[in-house]
Structure formats: structure tokens, C-alpha cells
């Protein structure tokens, strides 16, 4: 029952700033139109950067979801321990 462990993503601005930055990197508006070369690992360099930023997006959301969200988890688990089986 420690209030310091309560976390809600909406209350943390940096999460959303981070998300917007990753999304900005995920759309190829900042490359010169029509560019293909050089190829890296057989892919146009720009596509590789977009692909990497997509993976960064997945990893970021994975991490945020698991570590920055904690509203009632402890309470539920305590109830579960006390009540024997869940609900």
C-alpha cells in the first residue's frame, strides 16, 4: 500500500513526448523524395531506418506498459492472496 508505487502513464509527460518523437522518426518525411541508395542489408537505407524505428516503437510501448502502469495491481494481488483464489 505504498502510494509511491502507483503509476499511470497519462500522468507522465515524458512518455508522450517520447512517443511523439518516435512516431516522427517513423514516417519518412525527412528523407529526400525518391531516394533509394545506399542499400544496407539489401534494403534502402531509409526503409531500414523506418523499420528500426518501428521496432523501437514496439520496444518502447512494451517497456512503458510493463513498467509505468501500476494502479491497482498490488491491491488486486493482495486480495487474491487473502481470498485464496482469484474472484
Amino acid at each position: 500500500m505504498n502510494s509511491k508505487t502507483i503509476k499511470e502513464p497519462i500522468r507522465k509527460k515524458w512518455i508522450w513526448i517520447g512517443l511523439v518523437l518516435i512516431v516522427l522518426a517513423n514516417v519518412p518525411w525527412y528523407f529526400p523524395e525518391g531516394d533509394i541508395y545506399p542499400l544496407v542489408f539489401g534494403l534502402p537505407y531509409w526503409a531500414l531506418i523506418i523499420l528500426i524505428s518501428s521496432l523501437v516503437l514496439s520496444g518502447y510501448l512494451y517497456w512503458v506498459t510493463l513498467t509505468q502502469w501500476n494502479l491497482v495491481e498490488e491491491e488486486e494481488e493482495q486480495e487474491q492472496r487473502e481470498g485464496g483464489t482469484a474472484e
Binding site: M1, I6, R11, K12, D35, W46, G59, L71, V72
Partner: protein, 504 residues
């Protein structure tokens, strides 16, 4: 989809096997909970007790449909590397969930919400806000369902080489779907989703392996090979395309997260931890689902070049024919794969139908028509409405209206208009019903008219996104000018939680 040379009786056998498995799972799900047909939350939300495996796969199999393969591979074929957006627009949905799901989970448990409109009527206490939202949600769900019905018919017909005609295929699978849904409700839907989700995942991987095999040595030099066909497919897209990409992220992100069946999966979770774990895993699914399908589409450009738009729609069937011809192993794998496509479509359709029924049961019938009815009766009203809407949609699918067809394409565009009310309403105490209603209505009308008149996008921005921006503007400015005077809304700023999260 093109008829498959390889299919026929073997395809029929596989489909029957899928149908029997689904019915079996539905029967077991219904048997495991004898009270399933007595309570709305038992039937529509699996007793709010879905564990990690079921919740994860039902999120997955619902979000990814047969269209993810059959429709997205041709998109990759036509737009090339620009279709990389399909990875991020499916991923961003999880980011949008993070805006509201943590709080909505707690609220849902506390107030026993069954549908998203339960929250809206709790928050705004306005009949017209609730009714408009119900209308938008039913419309969006109905169209989504229509799309799935048409897709089931095409997939089955091509899998069985026409042995099972389109109409029979659709009716047959709808009966299977209705049967297991009636027996076990959300529990049946989620448990069949486990099977359907696994088959879809494995199917995509094996299809990709077949496609790579077909392409032979061309994989290492795929970019050059595509550049030979059309350099535009591998070059950096123009600015309008990039704007459209941003717009797509917004439309799909906001739209898919606010789908009623998506919100109901938040309510159905057994615990916060289960929900978190499921969402976190879902964040990794786009690279290995839409990402692999993108790759399949790109291989298609090299293996079967020169298809026009209509021809490219047949891409998955064409590739499957070639892959099935490699050897006996791939022959059977392709048949199972096409069964997987059918399974994926059904796993989306069943969730949409269940959600549709729940809105009728709980919102229309339960709130306005016969609020005092016992839950069993409300449940029956929703089930019957489900059968009625399926029948109506079948009729529309077989007699497509010539001129108004665009109306039946609207789904995200309309659904997404519920977002400002639904999410801002959680956190902003001053938000009031009147501007919320007008914002929602204006957004829906703008989005609807733009699509209807053929202006689906302006400068690459979707009508749904423009409508959503207007919607936000009206709802926010209106609420600042005429703030909510509700006295008893202490819940909004500091809701539901027994402890109030005031700091990081």
C-alpha cells in the same frame, strides 16, 4: 480471390475440421460455466475473468483479421515499402490504449461496465450523448461485420475451388459462429481465438517461407529486383504520402483502440497485471504479423510482376497456387493456411458480433426499452438482434447497393468520433455533455460526408481525422465556455481508485 487450382475436396475436409474444433471449444466454454446465459457480464465479458493466454490471443485474433493477409499483401504489392506503415499503425494502437485503458480498467471493475456506453452515460448523464455514441458504434460494428462476411465467402470459395459456393460458405460459417457464441459467449469467443490466433501466426510464417522458396535467389537482391519493376516502390515516398502515413497512424490508432470490442476486452481482463502483460506482448505483434505480410507482398512484386489493381487483389491466391505446386508438403500447408485465413476472419467477426449484441442487450434494450427486464431477457434480446443484424448484412452483401456503397465502408471514420467523449471525459472534469454531443455529431457528419462524396482524404489527411479534429475542437472549446456543472463528479478527476494516483 482467385480460385485455387489445388483446392477442392481437401479444402472442404480442412474447413470441416476447423468448424468442428470451433464448435467443440464453444461447447466446452459453455459447459465450464453454467451461469453463462444468466448474466450479462458472464456472457459478454467472460465473467471479467479472462486470463493472460485467452486475453492475449483474443486481442490478437480480433485485431488481426483475414484481411491482414488477403488485403495487406496486395497493398504492399501496390505501394511497396510505403506499406511499412502497416507495422507502426498496428503498434500505435497500444500507445493509444495507454491513454485510457489503465483508468478504464479500474472504472469498469468498480461500476460493472458492460459496454463503452455504460461509461458515457455514467460520465455525462446525457441521453443524447449516449444514444449518438451507441448509433456510431453500432454503425461501425455493423460495417465491420459486413466486411468480414464478404471476406469469409471469398476465402472459402477459393479454398474449396468453388466446391462450396459463396453463399453456402458464408451461411455455413455464420451458423458455426452463432452456435459457439450462443453456447459460451465471450469465453467461447476468446478460447476459439486462441486456436484461431495460433493458426494465423503459424500460417503467415509458413506462407512467407513458401514465398521465399518461390523467389529463390532473388531475395538477397530484392530491392534491386523491385527497382527494376518500379523504382517508385522502393524510393522515399512524396510528402503527401508521408502526411497520409501520419493520418493513418492517427485514424487506426484512435479508431482501433476505441472499438467497442477492444474496450470490452479491457473490462473482461481478470486483473491489471493480465491486461498489462497482454498489451505489452501485443506491442510486438505487428512486426511479426503485418511486417511479414509486407515482406510477402514485396516478394510478390518480384515473383508475379505486372498485376493491375484488380489483379493484385488476387495476389495471395496466386502466390498460394504457386507455393502449393512446390511439393506435397507445401500443398497441404497451403490448404491449412487458407483455413487459417477463414479462421482469422471468423475470429474477428465473432468478437464484433458479440459486441454488437452486447450494445443492444445492455444499452438499447437494457437502458431504454425495458430497463427492468431480468438479465436473461436482456441477453436474449441481444442474441436475437445479433441474428437479425447478420441476416440484414447478408442481404446487403448479396445485393450491394450501387450508389450508397460508400456508406457501408465507413467504420473507423465514424467510430473514432466517440474518442474525445470517451477519453477526455475520464480526465477532464469540466467536460460537459452539450459540446461533447455537438462535437461528436459534427465530426461524424464531416467524416461521413467526405467519404460519401468521394473525398476520402484531403492532402493525404483522412476525413475521419479531420472530423476528429473538429470534434475535439468543439468539445474542448465548448466545455471551456460552458463547463460541466455536475456536482457529483468527484469521480472524474480522482476516480474509482481506492487510492488516488497523484504523483509519479
Amino acid at each position: 480471390m482467385t480460385d485455387l487450382k489445388f483446392a477442392g475436396l481437401d479444402g472442404v475436409i480442412i474447413l470441416i475440421a476447423y468448424a468442428v474444433i470451433m464448435l467443440g471449444i464453444g461447447w466446452l466454454a459453455g459447459r465450464s460455466d453454467k451461469t453463462v446465459n444468466n448474466s450479462l457480464s458472464n456472457y459478454y465479458l467472460a465473467g471479467r475473468n479472462l486470463g493472460f493466454v485467452a486475453l492475449f490471443f483474443t486481442l490478437y485474433a480480433t485485431q488481426y483479421s483475414g484481411n491482414t493477409i488477403v488485403g495487406y499483401a496486395p497493398s504492399a504489392y501496390r505501394t511497396g515499402l510505403t506499406w511499412l506503415q502497416s507495422i507502426s499503425f498496428m503498434t500505435i494502437i497500444i500507445g493509444i490504449y495507454l491513454l485510457f485503458a489503465p483508468r478504464m480498467y479500474v472504472l469498469g471493475k468498480k461500476h460493472n461496465f458492460i459496454t463503452p456506453s455504460d461509461w458515457l452515460s455514467h460520465r455525462f448523464k446525457s441521453k443524447r450523448v449516449t444514444i449518438l455514441a451507441i448509433f456510431l458504434m453500432l454503425w461501425g460494428l455493423g460495417n465491420y461485420l459486413l466486411e468480414q462476411l464478404v471476406a469469409i465467402g471469398h476465402a472459402v470459395t477459393s479454398l474449396t475451388g468453388g466446391t462450396i459456393p459463396y453463399q453456402v460458405a458464408v451461411v455455413g460459417f455464420i451458423l458455426v459462429m452463432l452456435a459457439y457464441e450462443w453456447m459460451g459467449g465471450m469465453r467461447a469467443v476468446a478460447f476459439t481465438d486462441v486456436m484461431q490466433g495460433i493458426v494465423l501466426m503459424v500460417g503467415i510464417v509458413i506462407f512467407l517461407i513458401g514465398a521465399i522458396y518461390l523467389a529463390g535467389g532473388k531475395i538477397g537482391t530484392i530491392t534491386e529486383s523491385i527497382a527494376d519493376v518500379d523504382p517508385g516502390l522502393v524510393g522515399v515516398p512524396d510528402l503527401t504520402t508521408s502526411i497520409n502515413w501520419f493520418s493513418m497512424l492517427l485514424l487506426v490508432g484512435f479508431g482501433a483502440a476505441i472499438y467497442p470490442h477492444a474496450v470490452q476486452r479491457i473490462f473482461a481482463s481478470k486483473s491489471e497485471r493480465t491486461l498489462k502483460k497482454s498489451f505489452a506482448r501485443m506491442a510486438w505483434m505487428p512486426p511479426i504479423t503485418t511486417g511479414l505480410v509486407l515482406f510477402i507482398g514485396l516478394i510478390g512484386i518480384v515473383v508475379i510482376p505486372g498485376l493491375d489493381t484488380a489483379g493484385s487483389e488476387q495476389l495471395v491466391g496466386l502466390l498460394a497456387n504457386e507455393i502449393a505446386g512446390i511439393n506435397g508438403f507445401f500443398y497441404w500447408v497451403m490448404i491449412i493456411f487458407f483455413g487459417a485465413i477463414v479462421a482469422a476472419i471468423i475470429s474477428t467477426a465473432d468478437s464484433v458480433l458479440l459486441s454488437f449484441s452486447s450494445i443492444v442487450s445492455n444499452d438499447l434494450y437494457g437502458k431504454y426499452i425495458n430497463p427492468d427486464a431480468p438479465e436473461k431477457k436482456k441477453l436474449m434480446a441481444g442474441k436475437i438482434a445479433g441474428v437479425a443484424v447478420i441476416s440484414l448484412l447478408l442481404w446487403i452483401a448479396w445485393n450491394p447497393p450501387g450508389t450508397l456503397y460508400e456508406i457501408f465502408v465507413l467504420k473507423f471514420e465514424l467510430l473514432v468520433q466517440v474518442f474525445p467523449a470517451f477519453v477526455l471525459g475520464i480526465y477532464w472534469k469540466k467536460m460537459s455533455a452539450k459540446p461533447v454531443f455537438w462535437g461528436m455529431l459534427l465530426g461524424a457528419v464531416v467524416a461521413g460526408l467526405m467519404t460519401w462524396t468521394g473525398h476520402k482524404t484531403v492532402m493525404g489527411i483522412h476525413g475521419g481525422v479531420i472530423g476528429l479534429a473538429l470534434n475535439f475542437l468543439v468539445a474542448v472549446v465548448g466545455s471551456i465556455l460552458v463547463p460541466s456543472t455536475e456536482k457529483d463528479d468527484e469521480e472524474v478527476a480522482a476516480p474509482a481508485l481506492t487510492r488516488v494516483p497523484t504523483q509519479n
